[in-house]
Structure formats: structure tokens, C-alpha cells
């Protein structure tokens, strides 16, 4: 039996199929010319992580992008319709439209061209509006990943998920080793639009007898000019709170480095153990400013995610431990005011733990129930969630 969502989807697509998005679970026909599919995730949460103002601002961290907590109550996490059209063996176009958490409007999520030059079969080029693929956590939708909640690393360090105008070049140097470059326009945190972000990565896939292992390392650098936390600024209604946090801007460079691995090992006919891991270091250097204040800013932030899991038949039990440690330095006359206004005063190590049980009802439907202990804010918080995921290949030709 083929697993629908669990862990298989955490793997960057490029490693399995040579290119394209991660829909391998749907047993796509590699020679099909046109494929259309849909995916959907909806979840009910018992609570939402928010501070006294009703916002999710982790002390010690400049946040941004789409790093938003799930709202209390039932919500559609995401709903996507995607299509892949391959008109030549070496060229395909991929498009996806969808909605995501908190938004009802439909937006174009992906539209890009995938191309494999005939003379250089080991190269693959993708260009357009696409998801970042340097890590399993780089870009993901609730309907295609193991846990419904975005990983804390992604929320903290790249605003949840990266899809941006860009270019990716992969080089399959060896059947088990791939190198890649991504160049992004920068329309995602920690970059600011038009300022650009660049990624280098290397990924490997190994089979040691029964043990399957994938691992990667990556580095990302991004530039920002006057980047604010757009999540809660006026005009961007992500909260019902009447409080608008001070508009502190960051101008400077961010440099991120990460290391990840995913692994699985069958323990018996029906039982399989898995283990996923990612560690990230995020450094920032630049300037913080507000109308009247400014200060030089340096940050060294670290974080990791550990996810052991057990698969028994159609059941999967997984645990996720996530932790951040945040070191900030502000220098200059405005330092004290800015540290306060940017919510940087902090000595805690934000962490989050999630225990989840998932059940694959059939090929297209998965149920999941989770308990989360959230210590990302000053006030600890716990919540339960129950949800379903549906994926379907609608058309194949």
C-alpha cells in the first residue's frame, strides 16, 4: 500500500522525480501529457497561540511573511488545484491556484516552466513562480505535509513558506547526489521584494540496506530594504486585534544555513520507523529603524526540528520537537527603544512540541489529530486539532 501524505511528501521532489512538484503519492504516470489534481486540508483547532494583544509575535525574533498561527475553530488550511502539462519529453509547465490559511481569495501559487536541455540531461532548469526546494521545510502546503502546522523553523526564519518568482538550476552530478542553485526575486521574508535572495544546495539519497536516507545542506542569502513585519500592519488584516505593533524596519542582509535529513527503516512487515531532522542557523546584519530611531542590528538565531515517527499499517504516530534560540545585538542611540518596539527583549528559548496520530482512510483521504504544547510566546499555550486531508488526481491524459 502506498502512503498518501506521510513523510514521503517531505522529500524534495527533485530527488524522486527528476523535476516537478511532489505528487508522487498519486502514482502519476510519468509519460502522461496532462495531469490535473486537487488537494485540500481542513482542520479544527481548540485554541490559537497569541500574546496579550492577540498577535503571534515571538519575543526575540523579527517575524514576517505569512508566519501566522492557525485561528481557533475550524478553517480550511489550504485548497489547491494544480495542473502539469508536458508537451515534450523534456519540457513541462506546472501551474497551481489555491487559497491558504486565513484567506478566502484564490491566488496563483505556481506557474513555471520545467526544462531539461537535450544535450545536458543531467541539468534541469525551472523558471517562473515556484516553490523553493532547498529543504523539505522550505515550502509546503498543509495538504502535502506531515503536520498541519508549518514548522517553527520555517515560520521563524522564512515567514512560513517560500514561493516566489525565480530560477532554479539542478545538476544531478551522480545518481545519488544533486547540486542546485535558486535565484529568487525576493518577494518573501527575510528578503524584501526586488532585493533578491540566492540559494545553494546539495542533496543526497542513500539506501543502506533497508534504511532509506535523504539529506541535504543549503545556504541562503537575502537582502532587505526597509522590511517591516507586514503581517499585522494596517491594511493587512490578519488579526482582529486593534493593536498595531510599532512599524520597525530592517535593512540589511540575512544569511541562513541549514542541514536536514529524513530517514525510514522497516522494523517488520507492518511496522516502520522514521526520523526527520533539520537544523538552521540564521544570521542577520544591518540596521533597524523607526520614524525617529535607528540602531545597528546583528542577530544569530538557531533552531532545529526533530521528528521521530512510527508507521503501522495505515496508522502513523509522530512526535515533533522544535526549538529556537535567539541572540540579538542592537547598537546605537536608538537601541533601547527599538529593542522594545521590535519585541526583541527576550531570554527564553521558544519551543513547541506536537504529538500527532494520523490515519490513512484510503488512497485519497487522511485524518489527523494532534496535540500541541506551544511555548513560543511568553505565555505557554496548548491546543488540540482534528483535521482531514484530501488529495485526488482528477484527470490524466
Amino acid at each position: 500500500m502506498r502512503r498518501l501524505i506521510l513523510s514521503s511528501l517531505l522529500w524534495p521532489a527533485g530527488l524522486l522525480a527528476h523535476s516537478g512538484e511532489t505528487h508522487d503519492n498519486l502514482e502519476l504516470e510519468p509519460t502522461a501529457q496532462l495531469q490535473i489534481g486537487a488537494m485540500f486540508s481542513a482542520t479544527a483547532y481548540s485554541a490559537q497561540a497569541t500574546d496579550v494583544h492577540g498577535l503571534w509575535r515571538i519575543p526575540g525574533l523579527l517575524m514576517g511573511g505569512e508566519a501566522l498561527p492557525n485561528a481557533k475553530g475550524a478553517q480550511v488550511d489550504d485548497a489547491h488545484l494544480w495542473a502539469r502539462y508536458q508537451w515534450q519529453p523534456n519540457s513541462a509547465v506546472y501551474a497551481a491556484v489555491g487559497t491558504h490559511a486565513g484567506h478566502t481569495e484564490l491566488s496563483l501559487e505556481n506557474l513555471y516552466l520545467d526544462y531539461q536541455p537535450a544535450k545536458f540531461e543531467k541539468l534541469n532548469l525551472a523558471a517562473g513562480l515556484m516553490d523553493a526546494r532547498f529543504s523539505p521545510n522550505a515550502s509546503s502546503h498543509p495538504s502535502e505535509r506531515q503536520f498541519v502546522e508549518t514548522s517553527l523553523l520555517a515560520e521563524a526564519f522564512w515567514g512560513g513558506s517560500i514561493h516566489d518568482l525565480g530560477l532554479r538550476l539542478d545538476w544531478q552530478a551522480h545518481p545519488q547526489l544533486k547540486f542546485g542553485v535558486e535565484l529568487h526575486d525576493g518577494d518573501f521574508f527575510p528578503a524584501s521584494k526586488g532585493e533578491g535572495a540566492q540559494v545553494l544546495f546539495a542533496q543526497t539519497e542513500q539506501q543502506l540496506q533497508e534504511l532509506k536516507l535523504k539529506a541535504g545542506i543549503w545556504g541562503l542569502q537575502a537582502q532587505a530594504v526597509q522590511r517591516g513585519d507586514e503581517r499585522y500592519q494596517t491594511g493587512h488584516s490578519h488579526s482582529s486585534s486593534s493593536f498595531t505593533p510599532p512599524d520597525v524596519r530592517f535593512t540589511g542582509k540575512s544569511a541562513l544555513m541549514g542541514l536536514w535529513l529524513t530517514s525510514s527503516l522497516p522494523l517488520s512487515e507492518t511496522l516502520q520507523a522514521g526520523f526527520d531532522y533539520e537544523a538552521v542557523q540564521a544570521k542577520a546584519e544591518g540596521e533597524l529603524s523607526e520614524t525617529n530611531y535607528q540602531a545597528a542590528y546583528q542577530a544569530k538565531h538557531l533552531g532545529y526540528t526533530l521528528t521521530p515517527n512510527l508507521q503501522y499499517g495505515a496508522w502513523n504516530l509522530s512526535y515533533r520537537f522544535e526549538k529556537l534560540s535567539l541572540d540579538n545585538r542592537l547598537i546605537g542611540a536608538g537601541a533601547a527603544v527599538l529593542a522594545q518596539d521590535a519585541n526583541l527583549l527576550n531570554t527564553a528559548q521558544p519551543q513547541r512540541q506536537t504529538l500527532q496520530l494520523a490515519w490513512q482512510a484510503n488512497k485519497n483521504l487522511l485524518w489527523r489529530a494532534a496535540y500541541t504544547q506551544d511555548d513560543t510566546l511568553a505565555q505557554a499555550d496548548e491546543r488540540f486539532s482534528v483535521g482531514l486531508v484530501w488529495q485526488q488526481l482528477l484527470h490524466e491524459y
Binding site: 526520523f275 536608538g334 528559548q349
Partner: protein
């Protein structure tokens, strides 16, 4: 093999996880700018210091020299007048007149300003966006011709310097204040010394300050009620007179640039189109922009009870009358001179609009303003005339 694989994964994870933890902390360094607290600023430690320009670092020697000059009549052309003639300590360094009178008897179009916490002023004078430092300001009263203040001019300035040269105290004090100069007695250094003295004139010890610092009994119940009225959207006083100096136009070391703020508070409207009397047109006199007519810097309200009469031309005689002025949303003058309805001045700030207060509330608000009087400031011997010692 499998177990070795797992072992390898385990080791990698443990090792990297150990590397990906550190203490969470946010270190703040305000740039070492706070270390000249060694100078006697009369500013409590919890307040940021004012900005001091790099070409005139503060020192006790300059402060003392500036103090001697400030109180010295020999610094004026006719040798009959000093800065202190118009800026008297017991009146928080104003003169008690509606409009100042200079060394040659000329009337100044403006009222002499209080010199209270002026080190923090984002701009200098009643309404002047171009003069922003005390060093720029100091030569003005010395050399001003329209009107004459200290009466120094081209024909008598050598004489003025010669008078100072002849004073043995100055020989010593200029050397101490400007140790790297061989001929330190000149007007540029006089301006620097005066500016250094003025920077030290800080007042943070009023009953209100003591109340803020935790002494519940420092101000009366009436003043507390008045305080609530002052910091209230009804009166809007705090919008223009907010912050530690009771003025928006305040600038300190924690800020990266100064907001020079100016407002028209509805004093005049000579022609129905917003005109203020000649010589008292606010920053319009400098910018020439129609919308700048009647715009002045909101003055500090510290020691305000000592500095009557009020406004740039001393045209409001008491604090009671000032409060009633704001209650009416401006001033309607019906007598012949300067007649016009300031309430309808098109350039009046939107924060100046009519509101109602009971007689009790007027008294409360006044009592709050009176709680801003700092007796230790007007009695501080450090600021007093050194020639009398």
C-alpha cells in the same frame, strides 16, 4: 548495517543539535554615548541626555565660562546689559515682560523665552526651523540689530573683546575651557561657552517629577485631576506639549533625527485669511509659505507658572487666560488693534478646538501646570550670577 546507519544519524543529530542551541538574549549598547554623565547635567539617570555637537563637547570649564559671560554686562556693546537682563533665573530665565527691551531701549517683537531644558529643543526660538543649535543661536542676541539686544556691532566688537581680555578671570577661564588655543578669547568661543552653560540649565525636579518618581503626595489631588485633563483627548494639550519636556519639539540622544514641530494655535486672524501681526508671523517669516502663517514651536511648559505673560508676543497675561483661550478654540479679538477671529484662522491646528471645562476643572488644570514649577531650578546656585560670589 542498519543499526550503524541509525547510529550515524543519531550522532549527527545530537552533534548538530548541540551546536544549534545557545542562550537567547538581546544585548543593547546605546553607543557609549551615555558616559559623559560625569558632567553635572541636572538630568536624572533615567532620562536620555540631550545631543551635544561634536565640535563643542561639554565640559565643566566651558559651562563655568559660559555662566560668567551670561551674567556679564561687559559682553554688551554699551556695557550695560547682559543675557541675564532678559533671562532672569528667578523667572525661569524670562524677564516678566510681554515683549523684551534691548540694551538700547528697543522693543523686541517677541517675548523673552524661558531657558528651561533648551538643550533638548529640536529648533531654537519661538518659530525658526533653520536655527537648530544653541551655538548658532548665541551670536544672535549679541549682534542683533533688528531689534538691538546686546548691541554688539562692527564698531564696538573689538572693544568688547578688549574688556574681556582685561578681566583676569577670563584669561584663566578661556584657557581652561579651550586648552588647545593660544588666543582663545574670540566670539566663536564665546558662543560655544554660552551654549555649554545653556545646555546645563535643566529642570527635572518639580513636584510633578517627584510624583512621577513615586511620591504620591508630591502634588495635590486637584493637580492630579488637572493632569488627567491635560493628558486627555478632550483638551488635546499633550498632543503638542507631551513628552518629558512638555513639548513635541524635543530631541535627545535616543532619537536619530529631530522633529521640528510648529503649530498655529489660533491667536490671530487679522484679515480673515489667517494673517498674524507683522513681526509675529511665525515660521512664515522664514519659509514664506502661506500655510506656515502663525506657526510657532510649542514651548515647554516646565516652570510655566513663572514665565507670564504668555505666547510669542506675551499677549496672554495668565495661565487662566491661556486655558480659556484653548477652551474657545482660539482667540477672538474685537478691539481695534489686531481685530480678527483667531478661532477661524484657516491655518490653525486641528488639535485646537473648543471644549468645555467647569470652573473647578480650569482650576485643576492650572494647578497641574503650577506643579511643573521646579524651585530647585530657580534657586540652584550653580545657575546664579557668579560675579556676585
Amino acid at each position: 548495517m542498519n543499526s550503524r546507519g541509525w547510529l550515524a544519524i543519531g550522532i549527527i543529530t545530537i552533534m548538530t543539535s548541540a551546536c544549534v542551541e545557545q542562550d537567547s538574549q538581546t544585548l543593547i549598547n546605546t553607543g557609549g554615548l551615555d558616559n559623559d554623565r560625569s558632567f553635572n547635567w541636572n538630568i536624572p539617570a533615567n532620562y536620555p541626555l540631550p545631543v551635544v555637537h561634536a565640535d563643542n563637547p561639554i565640559s565643566e570649564e566651558k559651562f563655568q565660562l559660559g555662566r560668567h559671560l551670561f551674567y556679564d554686562q561687559r559682553l554688551s556693546g554699551p556695557a550695560n546689559f547682559s543675557c541675564a537682563s532678559c533671562h532672569r533665573q528667578e523667572l525661569a530665565f524670562t524677564d516678566g515682560l510681554a515683549q523684551a527691551i534691548g540694551a538700547t531701549g528697543q522693543k523686541h517683537p517677541r517675548s523673552a523665552q524661558a531657558l528651561v531644558n533648551i538643550a533638548y529643543n529640536a529648533s531654537v526660538n519661538w518659530g525658526n526651523p533653520t536655527t537648530v543649535t544653541l551655538e548658532q543661536q548665541a551670536p544672535i542676541p549679541l549682534f542683533n540689530e533688528f531689534p538691538v539686544e546686546m548691541g554688539v556691532n562692527d564698531s564696538n566688537q573689538a572693544q568688547v573683546l578688549a574688556r574681556l581680555q582685561a578681566e583676569p578671570r577670563y584669561q584663566r577661564m578661556f584657557k581652561a575651557a579651550f586648552p588647545n588655543e593660544t588666543q582663545p578669547i574670540h566670539f566663536a568661543n564665546i558662543a560655544k561657552a554660552l551654549a555649554s552653560f545653556e545646555r546645563g540649565l535643566n529642570s527635572f525636579n518639580s513636584p510633578f517629577d517627584q510624583y512621577e518618581a513615586g511620591n504620591q503626595f508630591a502634588i495635590t489631588q486637584a493637580a492630579k485631576r488637572g493632569m488627567n485633563l491635560f493628558f486627555n483627548e478632550k483638551t488635546e494639550c499633550f498632543h503638542c506639549h507631551g513628552g518629558m519636556n512638555f513639548t513635541l519639539s524635543s530631541f535627545d540622544r535616543s532619537q536619530s533625527f529631530a522633529d521640528t514641530e510648529f503649530f498655529n494655535n489660533g491667536l490671530y486672524n487679522l484679515d480673515g485669511k489667517g494673517k498674524y501681526p507683522d513681526g509675529g508671523e511665525g515660521i512664515f517669516e522664514i519659509t514664506g509659505k502661506p500655510e506656515d502663517m502663525g506657526r510657532f514651536r510649542p514651548p515647554t511648559l516646565r516652570n510655566i507658572a513663572l514665565t507670564a505673560p504668555y505666547m510669542h508676543d506675551g499677549s496672554i497675561e495668565s495661565l487662566d487666560a491661556v486655558i480659556r483661550h484653548y477652551m474657545r478654540g482660539g482667540r477672538h479679538i474685537t478691539t481695534a488693534v489686531n481685530a480678527g477671529d483667531g478661532r477661524a484662522n484657516p491655518y490653525k491646528s486641528g488639535f485646537v478646538r473648543p471644549f468645555d471645562l467647569s470652573e473647578q476643572e480650569i482650576a485643576d488644570l492650572r494647578e497641574f501646570l503650577e506643579s511643573l514649577t521646579d524651585d530647585s531650578f530657580i534657586n540652584n546656585p550653580r545657575f546664579a550670577n557668579p560675579w556676585a560670589e
